[in-house]
């Protein structure tokens, strides 16, 4: 395996390369931005229609009350986990190969959480009353129901979102100072000046910065685990067959890390290509990332099998019927597609040949996420279609175009946020890449020069 990063990149070169990504967007950038905005337009149109007409236009019904909105909500929440994995967990583990790629992963965390939050609103029958879910002082002392997993959700997501925004921002301060010092005058200069909080790179600042960063990282890790466990509780705490599974929280967390890692691979390839970050987002790093994804895919597969096995050998006939229905009923094509994309396809990531083959990885990583989206849908819809009470079985329900439109638009919203981020903030952490280069060159000095791995 080659080197994660060249040791002889000059620091000024790093600044130059990264700062270049903030300048003069190419035409393709505007085209993608326009497409993203058009996608959002579709979703906004659908939402306005749904808001004014009623939830009925989503084509849900009284036995099938949740559908794509909740599935996509879990999908986006899941997507947000890998940023924390890369930036916080790997930070604590001193895995320094994360350094060139964690920034955009962290941004992805924040933006996918912001996307997920929208689905909660879209899903509500009376979204204008959404503030009822928050505990706020009122003259009647009416509080939300603290027993409800949805209320836990609200707390978990709000906390996770605010913490990851903070983490993203704090980690960016030294870089913002670099931007401030290098960019020509204009609104951006003012923005960076304010946001870099007077960073000068003194020893004291660095010391405080390190401690703060480490503290937030430690704070964020339990949050990341808890937020998806709580989303899993929405299902595990209910009594629906197919949902009432003890292993749901770890299963959800594994699925979240999985889809997040796959998304990082996708964005890695896009950024590497678009911003010409070949020096920083190198193939050896990709290889490590792919191996991580493969490992998580196998964990997810294992937990998935555990779920099936425990249902199969359990005494709950309804849950068993539900599982058989999933595998053989009208949802069978999607169910098996989920198994294929989620468990079979990642097996090819085990082969070295594919671990650095970017075009293949690009397609595979997107397909993995398709599989993970299907997984969420396969958790939601079949349970409603084939629940406890046979009279309410409804095997024909299909989400309307309004639902698909909003789901479609959410990808545009995420793309828009991410594109704007990439042009306004450095998507590669300059100071940490410098650190990495420095440490590698030190190691090189102390070690007799040998060719090959290290």
């Amino acid at each position: 395996m080659g080197k994660d990063i060249r040791e002889d990149i000059a620091w000024a070169q790093i600044n130059k390369d990264v700062l270049k990504s903030l300048e003069s967007p190419r035409r393709m950038y505007w085209v993608i931005l326009f497409i993203a905005i058009a996608m959002i337009g579709v979703a906004v149109g659908c939402e306005i229609y749904q808001y004014t007409t009623g939830m009925g236009v989503a084509n849900k019904n009284n036995s099938h009350v949740w559908s794509l909105y909740i599935a996509t909500f879990i999908f986006w929440i899941g997507m947000s986990h890998s940023g924390t994995l890369l930036s916080a967990i790997l930070h604590l583990m001193h895995a320094d190969w994360r350094k060139p790629i964690y920034r955009f992963a962290e941004a992805m965390t924040t933006f996918s959480l912001m996307t997920a939050g929208l689905f909660v609103l879209v899903h509500l029958g009376r979204l204008w009353m959404v503030y009822y879910v928050m505990p706020y002082p009122n003259e009647r002392w009416v509080w939300p129901n603290f027993q409800s997993p949805l209320v836990w959700d609200m707390f978990a997501i709000a906390t996770y979102l605010s913490s990851s925004v903070l983490f993203l921002y704090v980690g960016m301060i030294p870089d913002l100072a670099i931007c401030r010092d290098n960019i020509h005058a204009g609104w951006r200069k003012k923005l960076y000046t304010v946001m870099s909080l007077g960073w000068e790179g003194t020893d004291r600042q660095w010391r405080n910065f390190r401690i703060t960063y480490l503290t937030i990282a430690c704070f964020l890790i339990p949050l990341a685990v808890s937020v998806h466990s709580i989303v899993a509780s929405d299902f595990a705490m209910s009594n629906m067959p197919g949902w009432h599974v003890t292993s749901f929280p770890p299963y959800f967390v594994a699925g979240a890390l999985y889809s997040g890692c796959a998304a990082i691979i996708t964005l890695f390839i896009i950024l590497r290509y678009v911003f010409k970050f070949e020096e920083y987002m190198t193939l050896p790093i990709m290889k490590k990332l792919v191996r991580l994804t493969f490992a998580i895919a196998m964990v997810w597969t294992y937990l998935n099998l555990i779920e099936f096995a425990s249902v199969w050998y359990g005494h709950d006939q309804t849950a068993k019927d539900q599982l058989i229905f999933k595998a053989t009923g009208p949802y069978a094509p999607y169910f098996w597609a989920m198994i294929f994309f989620g468990s079979i396809l990642p097996l090819m990531l085990a082969f070295k040949r594919f671990q650095t083959h970017l075009p293949i990885l690009f397609v595979v990583s997107i397909l993995l996420n398709v599989g993970m989206w299907l997984e969420r849908w396969m958790i939601i819809s079949p349970s409603f279609a084939h629940g406890h009470y046979p009279w309410t079985w409804d095997h024909d329900q299909w989400p309307s175009l309004v639902q698909w439109g909003i789901v479609f638009g959410s990808f545009g919203w995420f793309t828009l946020l991410f594109m704007v981020f990439c042009k306004v903030f450095p998507s590669v952490s300059m100071y940490e890449v410098k650190e990495m280069v420095y440490h590698r060159s030190l190691a090189l000095k102390h070690k007799p020069a040998v060719k090959g791995d290290y």
Binding site: N59, V65, R126, R140, P144, N145, M240
Partner: protein, 287 residues
């Protein structure tokens, strides 16, 4: 949920198990439905539409599963090889079971659905945000969501039909969940009258709309705490107990007795402890 409840009597706020009978000192509204008497005529459903201002959503929306029948007649056929027409349907009126340990109550994020001291499962329309978690968790799927704005945009009660709306019952707007209330508006009036007279509500003094119209008298409704009430007697003769998840009919040791017992509750094994007892239909083979 008030702050006082949170601080002082949390344990009173949520009873843990229906055997803890403190909340039901005076009233425990319950129902029993004799499936042997039910002819599936749907009068109960119609009466409920009239009493509770249920919107008639029309053929198309009904086909989409957007119906609002708080009490619905379910049809079942024996799959015993007979020709379809000869099988003879069996009917089961399904309504909110007012579970003592209701799955819908715990999951509502805003506490819009609660248990009353009378053992009703109440729904506060003003508080509902429409997350539909309650219906997701209801094993009977006996809750109905307002998928459209029926009173205004869908115009289900055009002039002068709005004149026939029951003034005692709210007309629900879009985006809220609703379900059978055991005709709580009638219960309130009956309790108020009884209180003025300085007594409790007598058996038969209050009837639900579905019970009132049932031509075969299949539905009885009353106070389970009252030993003289018909409902209480029925529950007792059938040896159906509120706080059990398996009734005498299905317990093996009383098998000889079981032949005569017909009382059961639907999906009891989920430990929802429903307040509606069903009396099994007598089959020809059983007679």
């Amino acid at each position: 949920m008030s702050i006082t409840n949170l601080l002082e009597n949390w344990s009173d706020f949520r009873q843990q198990h229906p055997s803890d009978d403190r909340p039901h000192r005076e009233y425990k509204w319950a129902m029993s439905i004799d499936l042997d008497s039910c002819t599936g005529c749907n009068a109960c459903s119609v009466a409920c539409y009239a009493e509770n201002n249920l919107p008639v959503v029309g053929k198309e929306k009904f086909a989409h599963g957007h119906s609002h029948h708080w009490i619905r007649i379910e049809r079942y056929w024996d799959n015993d090889g007979r020709e379809f027409a000869d099988q003879g349907a069996q009917f089961l009126p399904m309504l909110c079971q007012h579970c003592e340990s209701a799955p819908c109550e715990t999951v509502c994020p805003v506490g819009a659905t609660n248990h009353t001291a009378d053992g009703l499962n109440s729904q506060v329309y003003n508080r509902c945000v429409g997350s539909r978690y309650c219906n997701a968790n209801c094993p009977y799927k006996a809750r109905y969501f307002n998928w459209y704005d029926y009173p205004t945009t869908d115009n289900v009660w055009p002039e002068p039909m709005n004149q026939q709306l029951n003034p005692d019952v709210t007309v629900r707007g879009k985006g809220v969940m609703e379900k059978c209330t055991f005709c709580v508006q009638r219960l309130t009036v009956a309790k108020s009258n009884a209180r003025s007279a300085g007594r409790g509500v007598l058996d038969g003094e209050v009837q639900t709309a579905c019970q009132q119209v049932c031509p075969t008298g299949a539905i009885s409704f009353g106070n389970l705490v009252d030993p003289l009430a018909k409902v209480g007697k029925q529950w007792m003769t059938q040896q159906v107990e509120l706080n059990k998840d398996k009734q005498a009919k299905d317990v093996k040791d009383v098998e000889e007795k079981a032949a005569k017992l017909r009382g059961y509750r639907i999906l009891e094994e989920l430990r929802t402890y429903p307040s509606v007892m069903y009396l099994e239909q007598l089959r020809e083979s059983a007679i």
